[in-house]
Assembly symmetry: C2
């Protein structure tokens, strides 16, 4: 998703903030080095840096926020892949961290990334008012906690034994995928006036995007069984995990994605028409969703 | 260790900040409820509240810090007990969280406690200067990260395959046990002048205490095999984990503990003689270590 140039330059940020130091126990150090040098699509970082460029957040603070979100994201993937969660084999084209370095080291590496991310966010907001810092702290607490990613994962694990109500699947997607997207949309704006004006629209966008993203991922999970892909495919059905394509059937799931794409597009157009600063959201929408969806249904 | 009154009143703080809300997935909610309602000795909370009372930190901020340290401590125990770490059976008189609620839920509960703890510390320092906040953030990053608890646990796991140098065992104890003790001694003082004057002495005290605590725990682990105790006993030898009593032999391990007790005592007396505000450290030293050691060797 990220351009090669951006990937290259942001990789340096991920390495620079690596929580593993030279005195770190060698297994943990190796796991962290592998983790920070194999980033995914860098969607969350890209969103933060675009927002910062348009809304006047200086680049070193933006990089701290972007790196924190990628570390949290990476940690959540490491933990989701564990044998007690999804028991996945591959991630981002490599064997999962626990398969190469052992479960215990994978857990510790995830925790080290999580710990460093909190520190980066605090540094990014250190010169802000108490009110802004408080908002940042509360947004993070909510997005990562039982109401956000962790809670989403807990519902996800329970899904095998629960009723597959489509509305529930959507709620899980909002928590698991939407939480960090919401932080990526909101944190870089907290010290600008744009936050006060448009936080509801941004919140709605994070929901549309999370549902679209999850919907496309679920279509891919169904389609990719037996094909080469960067991560373990066909896990949703095998693990009785929530999958929108299984729940709705593929034609209905597609129509649902198209409706969500339309709603998100209307929203980003409305934002851009009120203020040109928001046009980066339309660019991201096209890049991340509309064009990806075209490729997906053409495949 | 904590008096019944303190245990009772602080239990309300632990429950009040519980990251599990009514909408939390029921398994995760049950695991969190069990975790926050079964505190251990509350040593870290007790140290924070004593420091706050003597150095003028208001009680609501002190409670936030104390609760955060207990949550981090609790999370580290939940994770240490996992099958991929120590594979323990019991903790604080109950089956370990992963044995009652499953591994995945135990991991998520630990992460929810960790997440809430960061938020509590930020709230506690929200009205402080940027410099104080920065110091707090850096102390936490260091104490919990690869240089602190996580790193200590990584070395601990590696120990089975490494040389058993006693110095290394001490370093692991400083990281695993000392890190949160150091935060308990330092965080409540950051906004007082006492921090600038005595941070070196407090750092040394956290090291002496960590080594003494670990030494006594290691003696107990050896002695408690087959006896009723709150946690799984005899694990160190079974898992080839660092144990000072195994490394030095019991008589030498005892002499070492006695030497450390003496050094810590000299330090707390010197602090108290410079300023009466530090007498709480002598009280804690007596309560936590000297009297506990007398009981231990009398047993």
């Amino acid at each position: 998703m990220a351009s090669p140039d951006f990937r290259d330059s942001f990789s340096r940020v991920l390495l620079h903030n690596n929580p593993g130091a030279s005195a770190t126990e060698p297994n943990l150090q190796a796991a962290l080095a592998e983790s920070v040098s194999n980033p995914g699509g860098l969607l969350r970082a890209g969103l933060v840096l675009s927002a910062a460029a348009r809304h006047g957040l200086d680049s070193s603070r933006a990089e701290q926020l972007a790196c924190a979100l990628e570390y949290w994201h990476q940690a959540s993937l490491i933990l989701d892949d564990l044998p007690c969660m999804d028991d996945a084999e591959r991630r981002r084209g490599l064997p999962c961290l626990h398969r190469t370095h052992g479960e215990a080291t994978a857990v510790l590496a995830a925790l080290a990334l999580i710990n460093r991310a909190y520190s980066l966010v605090q540094h990014a907001f250190s010169a802000d008012s108490a009110e802004v810092r408080q908002t940042a702290c509360d947004l993070v607490d909510h997005a990562l906690g039982a109401a956000g990613i962790l809670g989403g994962q807990a519902w996800d694990l329970r899904f095998g034994s629960a009723t597959r109500a489509p509305r529930e699947i959507g709620r899980i997607a909002c928590r698991k995928t939407g939480a960090l997207v919401w932080l990526a949309l909101s944190l870089p704006l907290l010290s600008s006036g744009a936050w006060q004006e448009e936080q509801r629209s941004l919140r709605a966008l994070s929901v549309y995007w999370a549902l679209t993203y999850q919907g496309m991922d679920d279509l891919l999970d169904l389609a990719a069984v037996g094909r080469e892909s960067g991560k373990t495919a066909g896990r949703d059905s095998a693990l009785h995990r929530p999958n929108l394509s299984i729940a709705f059937g593929v034609p209905d799931a597609r129509r649902r994605i198209e409706r969500l794409l339309g709603q998100a597009e209307l929203l980003v157009l409305a934002l851009s028409s009120r203020n040109m600063k928001w046009t980066y959201l339309a660019d991201w929408h096209e890049r991340l969703f509309t064009s990806r969806y075209r490729l997906l249904i053409a495949a």
